[in-house]
């Protein structure tokens, strides 16, 4: 096990860099290129989207390397903060961690969608004639979605953070409603409406915090818009104003992050969107929203001691409710969606403790949840691809026909339940330790109990789908076989990373350590 101890960090110096603007402007330009050139050429759309996702992943890796190992000229302490546009954009280790999730999962999801979307039965659901036009729009929205999420991760301007997070809703709204049938439209309407209402609360919160920062008299002009500057004067902001702003932010970003009780949009959207989009929603987008919440709200932990307890309680409620709801689902994708509500609860509970250990555990679980949930959604998508069936009770005996998919699903199921030796075990253990360390034993109890519920919620359907005999000999089940290479390669990669991070969690330590220091505002 890694020794989790904060490294002595000097205040990181800023280094002007072109990377932060490039990482979100590139996908936005690419989206227009796809729309301009790809109406009739699916291959062109696919190629541009794949290249863009690859570029984002490479840039994200580069930024992560620089924030951990980069050296300023004349300095010997490794680690820099990349800045651009007069500090409007700012990439520290926390942003780099989120960027790595966006880049990595984004690339695999794009690769996955290249084959998934061309599957005839799924295209038939869209309708003959419509599908042709939709493909180009799909890829354009997909890269815009990646671009807007990257923008949210790199911006340092609190109002622009709102703009970017809302932009992720707008770019993904039509992706959720992609199939344009009754289910898709209903999910799309709820998604756009609920998230926009929620995020308007967040705008109000951002503005209140900006006003409070400006009123301290320490910051001038546009400075109180910069999150990094507001952080410096947070102790001067009256606690009651901070509370008003923070409450609005919790409703706004919490809704986007899928935390209970603000989660009703999530199961619909995650289940009805095409699977590659589900992967991005569940694996990346809700993490970006939680990042926004952690980035802004953690500033005020020292001023509002009860806030941490309240947020841990909110996280505990979310984990328990999500897991119990997952237990009763018969739809494979809704099961995974409710599990996301539950896992975001763990991330929040960890981050909300406010200590270094809590932040480390929460962020580690954020990373792990992204990997595991992307894996599970891809495996569920593979089952749908091969059989066209989503109901657990109608499936059965797929293990012999789809060995890779079944192995990947079971790895994901064990990892998400926090079973050793997988990555979920390591991060959940850290969260338990952090909660216990802060004396929040009731939360430890809920968290451990939720893990057991999660295990049941996942193992039972996994057994049913892959090993039990099918309830009825559906011809679709008998005809099913393993999915094409382009679908199982991303799954195998994710499964391998899940195992690797479980055995050697030290691999992520450098980045997580620096990121955790940035939001650990409580304790020494």
């Amino acid at each position: 096990m890694v020794s989790i101890q904060a490294a002595a960090v000097a205040p990181a110096a800023g280094m002007p860099s072109l990377l932060p603007p490039t990482v979100f402007l590139l996908p936005i330009v690419a989206g227009f290129v796809i729309l301009a050139g790809g109406r009739r050429h699916h291959g062109f759309c696919r190629a541009i989207a794949l290249l863009t996702a690859l570029a984002v992943a490479v840039l994200a890796g580069w930024m992560a390397w620089l924030t951990v190992r980069g050296l300023l000229p004349g300095s010997t302490l490794p680690g820099v903060v990349l800045t651009a546009w007069r500090d409007e954009l700012r990439v520290d280790a926390l942003s780099a961690l989120v960027m790595l999730v966006i880049g990595g999962v984004g690339l695999l999801a794009t690769l996955y969608s290249a084959t998934y979307l061309e599957h005839q039965p799924l295209l038939d659901r869209v309708g003959v004639g419509r599908a042709e036009r939709r493909i180009a729009i799909f890829y354009a929205l997909l890269v815009w979605f990646l671009g807007t999420m990257s923008w949210a991760a790199v911006t340092n301007n609190i109002v622009m953070l709102y703009v970017a997070v809302e932009a992720t809703t707008l770019t993904s709204g039509l992706l959720v409603a992609f199939y344009w049938d009754r289910r898709g439209l209903e999910a799309g309407y709820k998604y756009l409406m609920l998230l926009t209402v929620g995020i308007t609360f967040a705008l109000f919160g951002c503005v209140v915090i900006y006003a409070a920062g400006a009123a301290t008299g320490q910051l001038h002009g546009a400075q109180p818009l910069l999150i990094s500057r507001v952080r410096e004067v947070a102790s001067l902001i009256p606690a009651r104003s901070a509370l008003v702003g923070v409450s609005l932010l919790i409703v706004g970003f919490g809704m986007k992050a899928g935390l209970a009780p603000f989660h009703p949009w999530l199961p619909d959207a995650h289940a009805e969107a095409p699977t590659p989009v589900s992967v991005l929603l569940s694996g990346v987008m809700i993490n970006v929203a939680l990042y926004a919440l952690a980035r802004t709200v953690s500033i005020f932990f020292p001023a509002l001691p009860l806030l941490t307890v309240f947020l841990v309680a909110l996280g505990s409620f979310s984990m328990l409710l999500g897991a119990v709801m997952a237990l009763v689902q018969d739809d494979l994708k809704r099961l995974l969606a409710y599990s996301s509500v539950s896992q975001m609860g763990y991330v929040l509970a960890g981050v909300a403790v406010g200590t270094y250990l809590g932040a480390f555990g929460g962020l580690f679980h954020l990373l792990n949840h992204a990997l595991i949930k992307a894996l599970l959604f891809m495996a569920a998508g593979a089952v749908i691809y091969a059989t066209g069936i989503r109901r657990v009770s109608s499936l059965g005996g797929l293990a012999s026909r789809m060995p890779v998919t079944s192995a990947c699903f079971i790895i994901g199921a064990l990892a998400i339940a926090g079973f050793p030796p997988f990555n979920g075990f390591m991060s959940k253990l850290t969260v338990y330790l952090a909660l216990a360390d802060s004396g929040l034993w009731w939360a430890v109890g809920i968290a451990v109990f939720t893990s057991l519920v999660t295990l049941v919620a996942f193992v039972r359907p996994a057994m049913r789908v892959f090993w039990a005999a099918p309830a009825s000999p559906d011809p679709a089940l008998l005809a099913s076989r393993e999915v094409p290479v382009a679908l199982w390669v991303p799954m195998v990669v994710l499964a391998a990373v899940c195992l690797l991070l479980g055995i050697a969690p030290g691999l992520a330590h450098g980045l997580l350590d620096r990121a955790a220091v940035l939001i650990a505002t409580v304790g020494g």
């Binding site: 439209l185 756009l192 705008l203 503005v207």
Partner: protein, 224 residues
């Protein structure tokens, strides 16, 4: 120029009329009329922003953006949508009588609350001045009316109008809370509302074609 140069009476009148247009937009069941009330509100916001711009010239930008987005584009989308679907709102969850009482209670209660507790919302000197205090109270009232519309209306188009009111409330508060907001941020905030409304109406039109109604209570494919 100091805040003493503000046309206080004009601002007060515009603010009060603004609240009335919100009530009309929420309560009228004829959708074209509700959209008109919304457009009227947008024009009032533009007028208000222009009056405030005397002390803060950057608000002229805000006023121009609001004119384009709120007074022209959004009403245009709303009218086009209403013409293609249905002219009268699906029956709301509460009847007209109780609705008026609730709306009045919300307005009085919330206006007073924000007006008295403005320091809580904005600990800055500007917001304590009477005109800005009124502006914040009106902003909060419009916000709450939008929320009320979202919670009690079952017609999808009415929920969109409710959402627009919600956004108007927040945008109005920017006058007092964020006087130094940059033009890019304003542009981002304003253009996003237009895109949101456009996308929502696009999806709702799809819902109307598939389900034959814009009644959100009939969206029952996905439960649990």
């Amino acid at each position: 120029m100091s805040t003493a140069d503000l046309p206080v009476e004009l601002i007060r009148t515009l603010s009060m009329t603004l609240v009335i247009t919100s009530v009309l937009a929420v309560e009228t069941r004829r959708l074209r009329f509700a959209a008109t009330a919304y457009a009227a509100q947008a024009l009032l916001i533009v007028a208000l922003l222009t009056s405030f711009a005397r002390v803060n010239p950057s608000l002229y930008w805000w006023a121009a953006t609001a004119l384009l987005t709120k007074a022209i584009l959004i009403p245009y989308f709303l009218f086009r949508f209403i013409d293609r679907t249905q002219p009268v709102e699906v029956r709301p969850l509460v009847g007209f009588g109780p609705a008026v009482v609730v709306a009045a209670a919300l307005i009085l209660g919330f206006f007073r609350l924000t007006h008295t507790l403005v320091e809580l919302l904005a600990p800055c000197g500007l917001a304590r001045e009477e005109t800005f205090r009124t502006n914040l109270a009106v902003a909060a009232t419009v916000f709450v009316l939008g929320l009320y519309a979202l919670l009690t209306r079952r017609d999808a188009i009415k929920t969109v109008i409710g959402l627009c009111l919600l956004e108007n409330g927040v945008h109005l508060s920017l006058v007092s809370l964020a006087p130094d907001l940059s033009e890019t941020a304003l542009f981002g905030v304003a253009s996003e509302v237009v895109v949101t409304v456009f996308l929502l109406l696009y999806v709702i039109e799809g819902v109307y074609r598939e389900f034959g109604t814009t009644d959100t209570l009939r969206l029952k494919e996905l439960q649990w």
